[in-house]
């Protein structure tokens, strides 16, 4: 006897497979998004909130909402404008020179010579040493009374009087920029060297056969192929240097007379010397906006370069 069973109708899932797949994909992002929220977004929101309050830690009785009061004060603060200008000199002076010398070092290290591996390792040394230690080393080198630099220059007969490199407003910024350049050259050298190694030799050979000289090969092959790396490396480095306060803090503390005070060290000074967290918050927000504006413009200007 044959029994017939009625086939159950298949219930349609509440969420389609396509949507479910999408949700699963997003659920994998949740931990990272939460981390980002807790460590980046929330602090930014808190800093913005802080900047809208009179928040001097030793005056808890004066804590109140003041709207844009801290921003108005900032616009009227001549030291802020000085620090912003100093930041521009510090960032672009450092990054441009780091890039030029780093590129030169990368081109040299690309050549085959005996002991290349050792030289490449040694080139990394300034980058490996912690920033604070670099600051201390150079502070001693620059020391006017018993530092090596003055001593060598006087012995060589290139200088008659000792120069107070870090105590003179005319020399201090140049001296800290030079130290930062020394420290940052390996970063560009290694990044660009990696890029150079990825350039196919055939291109150079073909160009050589076509009669292209060294400069033409550099201009028409090396530079275009390295552009994506150059854009990313310089953008990263500019943002980094803008916020990098260690060297200045150790070497000059922003002095003499604010000659090396950049906005990030000024923010620290306001927060931890004056305990004025409201004003320090406003300075931090402005720093963030300046960097956001710069990054947007920079990426727009170099748009499409990565795909070159």
């Amino acid at each position: 006897m044959t029994t017939l069973s009625v086939a159950k109708s298949r219930t349609r899932p509440l969420i389609s497979w396509r949507v479910r797949k999408l949700l699963i994909g997003y659920s994998y992002l949740v931990p990272a998004a939460l981390c980002l929220l807790a460590t980046v977004v929330v602090p930014i929101i808190l800093a913005i909130k802080m900047s809208l309050y009179a928040d001097v830690l030793y005056k808890p009785q004066d804590y109140r909402f003041i709207g844009l009061g801290n921003y108005v004060r900032l616009v009227q603060d001549p030291v802020f404008w000085l620090t912003l200008w100093n930041s521009v000199v510090w960032v672009f002076g450092s990054v441009i020179l780091q890039f030029v010398f780093g590129f030169a070092a990368a081109l040299l290290l690309q050549q085959a010579f005996r002991g290349r591996a050792l030289v490449r390792t040694l080139t990394l040394l300034p980058w490996i040493i912690p920033g604070v230690v670099v600051g201390l080393i150079w502070q001693w080198l620059y020391q006017p009374n018993y530092g090596v630099i003055n001593d060598l220059l006087i012995r060589a007969g290139w200088m008659q009087e000792r120069i107070a490199w870090l105590s003179s407003p005319d020399f201090a910024m140049g001296a800290v920029v030079f130290t930062n350049v020394w420290r940052g050259i390996p970063f560009f050298a290694i990044m660009l060297l990696a890029g150079l190694q990825a350039v196919p030799d055939e291109l150079y050979e073909a160009a050589h056969v076509d009669g292209a000289g060294v400069l033409a090969r550099f201009w028409h092959i090396t530079l275009p192929l390295l552009r994506p790396i150059i854009v990313v490396a310089t953008a990263t480095r500019i943002i980094w240097t803008f916020n990098y306060a260690d060297l200045i803090f150790v070497m000059t503390g922003g002095g003499p007379a604010n000659a090396t005070q950049i906005t990030s060290t000024y923010t620290l000074l306001q927060a931890y010397s004056s305990l004025d967290f409201g004003y320090a918050g406003a300075l931090s927000v402005v720093l963030l906006l300046v960097m956001l504006a710069f990054t947007t413009v920079y990426l727009r200007v170099t748009k499409g370069v990565e795909e070159t």
């Binding site: 808890p60 006017p144 009374n145 107070a164 407003p169 002095g255 007379a257 000074l269 010397s273 004025d276």
Partner: protein, 434 residues
């Protein structure tokens, strides 16, 4: 065998044990070898932040903490060493985060700010019933008292004086300065010491850090000026301007300071003196120990600050304090350790090792301080000691660092006049008087 000459085993053991006890008793207790911590099960921890971690101080504090932990079984002090540069930041963060240490070692110019934050424990009752209350110098109590509340114990006190090289004096055939010397004599000596072609300068001026502004302020007092008078800021008075102009002229006009003066901080003024670049500098007794190693105890001495045109002089008192926080979890343990540190032997050991002056009068009279030529200038400065006027308002300490120091640096460099420097600084102080 003659029994009178033979020693029984029991007698030998007794003799050895007796010798050991005498030897141990003869050892200063802090020099006794550390055997191991006494087991103190259930001892409550006391978190203690220490902010000047250099080798001598670390060894000293470790030793004192071990002694305290061994001397009783209820509390176990745990030291948290923080570099001085980060100490203030770390304390502020921990106070704001609601997790301060039980106790910390800080200078009194920070305590006002912490007190303003409502973070410091009022220890008036404990201090007044403490057995050594009357033995602590009244001015030392003033440095740690705000609105009639005692908020710290003064571990040591400092007064500024002038260090000078006695060997250089002899070498150059110069007359030994006397404790009642004047500005003119100070300047003449600075000029005589200066041989720029040999990289030698008369005076190691401090241009960096809080004291870059406090030192010229002391000179201003010698010219009859005051920072605060009848509740009003008077740091830009004519007397103050004249004094600061005279002070910065040491660098600008007379060139008796090293070219790096505008950024020379504590390390630099101590180092340049130690290396023979400068022959005088202004500091408290805290670097006397360092100079004994650097130039030798017999090659330098100290003097009170010189007398100014107003026939006056003043040296600012500061205290290195032990401060307990309101948020401390173990206030009794913190107090026990604070008061232990001001007992005679720990205080004597601490101050004598580091070249600081004890806050307790009975300890200060000991020969370690009263008869040491390196300390003479500071001990003799007690009659001219006044509490730093910059402790008057909690916001002033921070403003000296953020605004005052850049201003005095500009004056030292000749970028602005002494008048402009003090007028601008006075405006800043006025805004912080609430």
């Amino acid at each position: 065998m003659d029994e009178r000459r033979s020693i029984s085993r029991r007698k030998l053991l007794h003799t050895l044990a007796g010798t050991g006890v005498i030897a141990a008793a003869d050892l200063a207790w802090w020099d006794a070898p550390y055997i191991g911590p006494r087991k103190a099960w259930g001892a409550e921890p006391v978190r203690f932040q220490w902010s000047v971690p250099e080798p001598t101080r670390i060894a000293l504090i470790n030793s004192l903490v071990e002694r305290f932990n061994q001397s009783q079984k209820d509390f176990a002090v745990q030291v948290e060493y923080v570099p001085q540069a980060q100490a203030r930041q770390k304390l502020i963060s921990s106070i704001a985060g609601g997790n301060p240490p039980d106790l910390c070692q800080v200078w009194d110019n920070w305590v006002g700010q912490f007190n303003g934050m409502g973070a410091v424990e009022d220890i008036t009752a404990r201090a007044k019933s403490w057995k050594h209350f009357a033995d602590v110098a009244p001015t030392a109590w003033q440095t740690v008292t705000i609105s009639d509340k005692i908020i710290s114990l003064p571990l040591s006190v400092t007064l500024d004086g002038i260090y000078y090289r006695t060997d250089r004096l002899k070498e150059l055939g110069l007359k030994e300065p006397t404790p009642d010397w004047t500005w003119d004599e100070f300047l003449s000596l600075a000029k005589a010491f200066t041989k720029a072609d040999k990289n030698q300068y008369g005076y190691g001026m401090r241009g960096s850090g809080t004291w870059a502004l406090l030192y010229p302020s002391e000179f201003a007092y010698a010219n009859g000026a005051e920072v605060l008078k009848d509740g009003k800021v008077t740091i830009n008075s004519k007397e103050a301007i004249d004094a600061v102009a005279w002070y910065v002229d040491l660098a600008l006009k007379h060139k008796v300071t090293p070219p790096s003066a505008a950024t020379d901080g504590f390390v630099e003024i101590v180092e340049t003196f130690g290396r023979g670049v400068t022959s005088m500098y202004q500091h408290n007794s805290g670097s006397a120990g360092q100079q004994k190693k650097n130039v030798g105890a017999g090659n330098f001495a100290t003097l009170p600050l010189p007398i100014g045109p107003a026939n006056k002089r003043a040296s600012f008192w500061f205290s290195e304090t032990l401060t307990m926080f309101k948020g401390a979890r173990n206030k009794e343990g913190a107090w026990q350790f604070m008061s232990f540190m001001l007992e005679e032997e720990p205080s004597l050991k601490y101050c004598a090792t580091l070249g600081l002056l004890p806050a307790r009068k009975s300890i200060l009279e000991k020969p370690e301080f009263a008869k040491d030529p390196a300390q003479a200038g500071f001990v003799n400065s007690f009659p001219i000691g006044i509490v730093s006027p910059y402790l008057a308002y909690p916001g002033w300490g921070g403003k000296i660092d953020s605004d005052g120091v850049p201003l005095i640096q500009q004056a030292i460099l000749g970028k602005i006049s002494a008048k402009e420097c003090l007028d601008r600084f006075a405006d800043i102080l006025k805004k912080e008087m609430s």
